[in-house]
C-alpha cells in the first residue's frame, strides 16, 4: 500500500527523470523491501539520479554492492518525508565504472570508497578517490567481496602496517601535526586520528578508520539464518540488539514470516534496555573525560545494575544472541517483569538528581557547553542520525517516523535540541533514557501472551529483505539476499556510525585538542560497525 504523503516526492522525481527521457523504471514491489519503493536506472545515469535526489532534498541513507557472478549490482537508499527509495543499477564486471553520488550527497563519500575497495567499482567523479577500508591486507587489484575472491584471501605471513595514505597536511608557522592511534590510551576501539593544530586549537581532524575490518560481510556468505543472526549480533557489540533485530527483520521480511506479538514486544524491551545501558555508560564516560569522578562512578554503577537485570531477564549482560530468526531465544521469567519495573522506579529519581548535579556543576558546564558544536544546517546536510542528529535539531526517529511493530501503536517521545554541543548531546541522551524507561513500562504492561518464536522457513532463492530499526545510535539498516537452500548470498549492515563519523571531524574544528576525547565520547561512533 502506498502512502502518497510519503512518496509524493518520488513520483515527482520519477516524472522529472522520465521527462528527460532517462531509462528509469519503478520495479514491482517486493514484500521483503517494503515499505521502501525500488527503482532501477542505467549506470550512465546514476550520477543524474544522485543530482536529482540531492536537489529534491533527499537524505542519502546508504549504498552497497552485490556480485551475482555475471554482473555487479549497486544499491543506493534515499529517504525523504519518511518514504524510503531503493535505487539499483547493474554493472558489467569487467568495466564497473559508475558516477559518484558524493558530489551531491557528502554522506556517500566513505561508503562509495568502501564499495570501491571491496567490489572494485570505480567511481568516475568521486572527489576523493583514496582507498578507505583497504590498508595492506589485500592488494589494489583484489576485491574481497567479489565472488571469485576466496574468503581466506591471499594474506602475507605478516601483514605490514598501513603506509602511503595521503593525509591532508596544514602548513604555516606554528602548525603541528598530532597523530593518534590506532592503539588509543583508553579501553576503546582502534582507529587513527590525524590532527593539524596550532597550539591547542584544532585546525583540522582527519579520521583514518578500517583497523577493525575483519571480513564481516564476506563471512555472512553461505551462512544459514541462525548463523547470520550470530554474526549480526557481533557487528558492533554495544549495538548487538539493534543489528540482530535489523538482520532478523530483513530475513523475516524476505521469508514472509510473521512474528508472534510477544516476540516483538520482547525485542523492543531489549532494544530500549540497550539504549539505556549505552547512554548510562557514555554519560559516565563523559563525566570521566571532564574529570568528574563522581559522575563516572554514579553512572557506571547504574549501568552495572542495569546490565545485571538484563542478564537475569534475558540471559546476557549485553543481550547478545537473544534475538533469533523467527523471534527471541527465550521467554521472560515472570519474576523479571516486576524486577524490571522496580528497577525503573529506582533509576528514574536517581537519574533526575544526577542530571541536576551534572547540568549545574560548573566543572561540567564549563567543559561541555559550546564544546564540539555541530551546527543544525551541517547535521541536516549530512543526514546525521540518532542523538547526534537530534541534539542538532534533526527531529528524526524511526520508531515514530517509519514505525515497525510494536512501536507502531506506541507514543514515542523524541528528545530534540538545537544547541548541537556536547552538553546538548548529553541532555538528549539523558532524556532518551527517561523516554525509554516509560516505553519499557508500557511494553511490560501490555506484554501479550503466546509464543516467543515461530519456526524458521527459508525463503526462495534470490529473496531480498531490508531491515530498519532505530538502534541506540540511530537508524540501523540491514540488507539481506538469500541464495540457494536458505543460505545467505549477501548481508550488508549499515551502522549509523557510517553517517556520523565524518561529522566528528567537522564538529571538533576550532575546539582544543584536550576536548577531543569528550567530543568523541559524546558522539561515540562504532569502529567495528563502521569497518565491518
Amino acid at each position: 500500500m502506498r502512502s502518497e504523503g510519503r512518496f509524493g516526492w518520488l513520483d515527482q522525481l520519477l516524472g522529472q527523470l522520465l521527462s528527460e527521457d532517462l531509462p528509469v523504471r519503478e520495479l514491482a514491489p517486493e514484500p521483503g523491501l517494503a515499505p521502501a519503493r525500488s527503482i532501477s536506472i542505467d549506470p550512465e545515469h546514476w550520477g543524474r539520479l544522485g543530482q536529482a535526489t540531492g536537489h529534491t532534498g533527499c537524505r542519502w541513507v546508504g549504498c552497497w554492492g552485490e556480485d551475482t557472478g555475471d554482473e555487479l549490482i549497486v544499491h543506493a537508499c534515499f529517504e525523504k518525508d519518511r518514504g524510503y527509495m531503493l535505487a539499483r543499477t547493474r554493472l558489467r564486471r569487467l568495466t564497473p565504472i559508475l558516477p559518484s553520488h558524493t558530489p551531491y550527497h557528502p554522506a556517500a563519500d566513505r561508503s562509495e570508497r568502501h564499495l570501491q575497495d571491496l567490489f572494485g567499482v570505480a567511481f568516475s567523479d568521486h572527489p576523493d578517490p583514496r582507498r578507505w577500508v583497504r590498508h595492506q591486507a589485500w592488494s589494489a587489484s583484489e576485491f574481497p567481496l567479489r565472488r571469485d575472491f576466496p574468503a581466506a584471501g591471499h594474506p602475507l605471513a605478516q601483514t605490514p602496517a598501513d603506509n602511503g595514505y595521503k593525509f591532508l597536511h596544514a602548513q604555516g608557522s606554528g602548525v603541528c601535526e598530532i597523530p593518534v592511534g590506532p592503539v588509543h590510551a583508553g579501553i576503546i576501539e582502534p582507529g587513527h586520528f590525524r590532527f593539524q593544530a596550532v597550539g591547542e586549537t584544532i585546525l583540522h581532524l582527519e579520521e583514518r578508520l578500517g583497523y577493525t575490518h575483519k571480513g564481516t560481510e564476506k563471512l555472512a556468505e553461505g551462512r544459514d539464518a541462525a548463523g547470520l543472526a550470530r554474526l549480526a549480533a557481533r557487528v558492533s557489540g554495544d549495538a548487538t540488539v539493534a543489528h540482530s533485530w535489523a538482520a532478523c527483520m530483513a530475513m523475516e521480511k524476505a521469508a514472509g514470516i510473521e512474528l508472534p506479538a510477544r516476540a516483538l514486544v520482547l525485542r523492543a524491551i531489549m532494544a530500549e534496555r540497550e539504549r539505556i545501558a549505552n547512554h548510562l555508560g557514555d554519560i559516565g564516560a563523559i563525566c570521566s573525560d571532564v574529570s568528574l569522578g563522581f559522575g563516572f562512578y554514579q553512572f557506571s554503577r547504574l549501568r552495572e545494575e542495569w546490565q545485571r537485570i538484563s542478564l537475569a531477564a534475558f540471559g546476557h549482560r549485553l543481550l547478545m544472541g537473544c534475538i533469533v530468526p523467527g523471534g527471541v531465544v527465550a521467554d521472560l521469567e515472570p519474576a523479571m517483569i516486576p524486577a524490571q519495573r522496580e528497577q525503573i522506579r529506582a533509576v528514574r529519581p536517581q537519574l533526575g538528581r544526577l542530571m541536576d548535579i551534572l547540568t549545574t556543576s560548573p566543572t561540567v558546564v564549563n567543559r561541555l557547553a559550546g564544546t564540539g558544536r555541530l551546527a543544525p544546517a551541517l547535521a541536516a546536510g549530512f543526514g546525521a542520525l540518532g542523538y547526534v542528529g537530534r541534539a542538532s535539531g534533526i527531529d528524526r526517529d524511526l520508531r515514530r517516523d517509519a514505525p515497525y511493530a510494536p512501536y507502531d501503536r506506541l507514543k514515542i517521545p523524541v528528545a530534540v535540541s538545537k544547541d548541537g554541543d556536547v552538553a546538548a548531546r548529553l541532555r538528549v541522551r539523558a532524556e532518551e533514557i527517561s523516554g525509554s524507561l516509560v516505553l519499557i513500562e508500557t511494553l511490560l504492561a501490555e506484554l501479550p501472551p503466546g509464543p516467543v518464536c515461530v519456526p524458521w522457513t527459508p525463503p526462495a532463492p534470490d529473496a531480498q529483505g531490508l531491515g530498519m530499526v532505530e538502534g541506540w545510535r540511530g537508524e540501523t539498516l540491514a540488507f539481506v539476499r538469500f541464495g540457494d537452500e536458505g543460505r545467505i548470498a549477501r548481508y550488508y549492515p549499515r551502522d549509523p556510525s557510517v553517517i556520523n563519523w565524518p561529522l566528528l571531524e567537522l564538529l571538533v574544528e576550532d575546539d582544543i585538542v584536550p576536548d577531543f576525547p569528550v567530543c568523541n565520547k559524546s558522539v561515540n561512533g562504532s569502529y567495528s560497525g563502521n569497518d565491518l
Binding site: 591486507a137 581466506a152 602496517a161 579501553i187 557487528v235 555508560g281 557506571s300
Partner: protein
Amino acid sequence: MLRILGKVQRIGIVTEDLAPWSDRVLTEVGTQLKAAVGMRFRGSLAIRQIDAGSCNGCELEIHALTNPFYGIERFGVHFVASPRHADLLLVTGPVSRHMEEAVRRTYAATPDPKLVIAVGDCGANGGEFGVNYASAGAVANVIPVDAVIAGCPPSPLALMRGILEAIGANRLAARSP
C-alpha cells in the same frame, strides 16, 4: 558540592565482597592475587588493554572492571595508557590484519618480563570471525600468549578471575631470565 556529598553519602559503598558470588575459588584466588601482586609487582599490576579488532563487546566488560562494583584497583590492578608502563597486555580479538602490526609493535614496546592474556572467544580462537582475508584470528597467531579468558564477552567476574589466575600462576617467574 553539597549535593554531590549528599549523594555520595546516600549511596554509600556498593563495592562487593567477593563472597556474594558464592565462589570459594574466586575468594581464594582474590586473596592470592593481592598477595601475588604484592610480592611480584610490589603491590601494583599495570595493564595495557589492546582492542585488536574486537566488536567492542569485550571492551565494555573490561571497562566494567573499573566500576564501583568490581573496583579492580583494590587488588592493586590498574589500567595504564602506555604499553611502556605495562606489566600485562589484555588483548581482545580477533586480530584484524589491519591491526596486526600495531599489536606486534605494542607487544615490543612493553618491557620484559611481560604477560599477555587473550580475551574473549575471538581473542582465544578467532570466535565468530576465525581466520580470513581480513582476520588473523586468535591473538596467539600474532604474539605469544600466556593465558586465555574465554567468553563472548567474558563477564567482569570471569575477567577478574582470569587475570587473577594468570597472575597467580607462576608464569612470570618461569619466563624471567
